[in-house]
Amino acid sequence: MSATDTGGRVSRFGSAVAEGWTRERFGLLGAVALVLIALAPPFQVYLFTDFLVVALFALGFNLLYGYTGLLSFGHGLFYAGGAYGIAIVLRDLGPVIADIVGAGISPLVTFVLGGVVGLVLVVLVAVPVGWLSVRLEEIYFALITLAFGMLGYSLIIQDPAGLTNGTDGVIVLLGTVDLGGFSLRIGGRRIYYAISAVTVVAATYGVWRVVNSPFGTVCKAIRESPDRAAALGIDVGHHRWMTFIVSAAVVGIAGVLRAGLASVASPGLTHWSTSAIAVIATVIGGATYFYGPIVGAFIFLYIRWAISRFPALEAYWELFFGALLIAVVLFFKQGAVGGLLLLRDRLFGDGDGDGGGGGGGGALNGGQASTAADDGAESGDDNARADRGDNS
């Protein structure tokens, strides 16, 4: 892969836009799809909501991994933070709020307030944890985030403050809004889907704006070369810290939604194996692209669902993801989004020998070529990352 290859790919994406596939049309198509999904059978609505929540979790995680090169194995801490924030507010403040705003609307007010409390809680945790963690890099960063996550896990299950109800977790009852003849069960599959869809789309747009802001540009500069960024007068540590906090906040929003979807805030959310879900989804989808984690979350949940259709395989779905994770890192660092872009280039490209480096062969060929670029020199890596920046 060469720099011109990436340039070509991006310009073709640009020309597709010029041919009428404007961002607005994509957006409209997406919105129509989101509405249509609400009409699907209940289980499918549930599955899609699950996908949206995991997608947001992975998206938040990837702000740190894909955009600043810091691999966190402790983002479950913030996922759980959001979940416990709303769960505790619902449990302890529900009656108080009902007294203030009236019983009819109080479930909705409690839900919104709980979400805000969850988010604030996550940020309050992320500020010191991030400040301490970003001092370390590479595997030491992975280890310290793992330690913070497991520290949170052990505090939640031992519950010294009497807030988290130990290993049982906190039950989340969302309640029903009742305004005269009009009643709305917040936890109802379709209602909750609508809430999740709006929240996730808004949060994703927010992340997209952050990534494409001057702040995001600074992040990318740090990712490419911390030393050069520092030489330009950028406070590298400070920006990593800020990215950590934003990343945690996004994951916290996903955690708030998770609590309502699962009807419980459980300690398992904090465990490193939950943090690993974000890693799996992101790597499989393609950490070098903005939409990579979203596509990865889609693959993760829908392949898992597909596997569950076969009782003989159901119990061993992790085996499949383990193997996929290994294969993606070894042979196809660009992940699924990279593969899709390559496929699109092959199907619709103008045949100037792009994508897999000289045409011929399938996606695998391209994968090996891009791996070789990763292996070879920094230029290959820069190339992949420049690609992400432009596609986002």
Partner: protein, 297 residues
């Protein structure tokens, strides 16, 4: 609670249990530390290797030969072969990458999932347990408290492994190759060391140690597929506290954590399991190279 009332709580049995827990942690952590020190790979799958060692030992004892020690050797070597195969087929492809550290961590995490599911596929989700070998399967009473004599054997073997490893690294030709390669890979390669083969050898040795830890611990704990996930975290704590790449650090760190697991709950009821993680955070922040010695020995 005054200090005098605390003292009688610590029985000799608690100390022995703590040290035997520390011994099994040492065996897994020293392999992890060795692989990191030489190859620079933080092997997430190391807990899986430990679990695999316990399972193979159980399987050999109950199905093949009714001799615990043969089963231990088979278990440890089988894990070594699996480890070497993983290094040879996957990990060595990543040494020259730009983000090799993180890629290695993710790939070895992929193997965590694969090993976990493979074990569940072969042996199911239940937990197994066996008795210690008959010769050592008796109770010892010391200072009013009782423990199984096999625990002393495990402690003795861990000390033996520490000494043997130390002699191996400092006194043998292969050891000097390992030391040379870990401090300067390019120079070692230029002087004619077959670095890829040495790496596979070190990964084999590290995996054997993890397998040995699992095999020796099989009589002391319930062996289940969840075991790998638990011990890898403990091993990470140990190597961080002891210093990644430090063998004596792994020993001291392992004994410290073993004692903490055995005695901790008696001192602090709430939050005791949080203490090792807190210690890990503090050590990473203050001395990322570990409390005991630096990278190398």
């Amino acid at each position: 609670m005054s200090l005098t009332s605390l003292v009688p709580l610590i029985g000799i049995a608690d100390v022995v249990i703590g040290l035997s827990l520390g011994s099994r942690l040492f065996l897994i952590a020293v392999g992890l530390s060795l692989i990191f020190g030489v190859l620079g790979v933080l092997n997430f799958a190391h807990g899986g290797f430990y679990m695999l060692g316990a399972y193979v030992t159980l399987a050999v004892v109950s199905n093949v030969v009714d001799n615990f020690w043969i089963a231990v050797v088979v278990g440890a070597l089988a894990v070594g072969v699996v480890g070497a195969a993983i290094e040879f087929s996957a990990i060595r492809r990543l040494y020259n990458r730009v983000d090799s550290d993180l890629d290695q961590l993710i790939v070895t995490f992929g193997f965590v999932l694969v090993i976990h599911e493979a074990v569940r596929f072969i042996w199911g989700s239940g937990s197994y347990s066996i008795d210690p070998p008959d010769v050592f399967n008796f109770s010892v009473t010391l200072g009013g408290s009782t423990f199984n004599a096999y625990r002393l054997v495990v402690i003795g073997l861990a000390v033996g492994v520490l000494v043997a490893l130390w002699l191996f690294i400092t006194r043998t030709y292969f050891g000097s190759l390992v030391r040379g390669t870990s401090s300067d890979r390019e120079m070692a390669a230029m002087l004619g060391v077959d670095v890829p083969r040495l790496y596979t050898g070190v990964f084999f040795l590290g995996s054997v140690l993890a397998g040995l830890g699992g095999a020796l611990s099989a009589p002391l704990q319930a062996t289940s597929p969840a075991l790998g996930d638990q011990v890898i975290i403990d091993a990470f704590i140990v190597v961080v506290i002891g210093g990644l790449g430090s063998m004596s650090g792994a020993f001291v760190g392992a004994m410290l954590i073993g004692m903490m697991q055995s005695l901790g709950p008696q001192f602090i009821s709430a939050g005791s399991i949080a203490i090792p993680f807190l210690a890990m955070v503090i050590v990473l922040l203050i001395r990322p190279e570990g409390l005991f010695g630096g990278i190398g020995e």
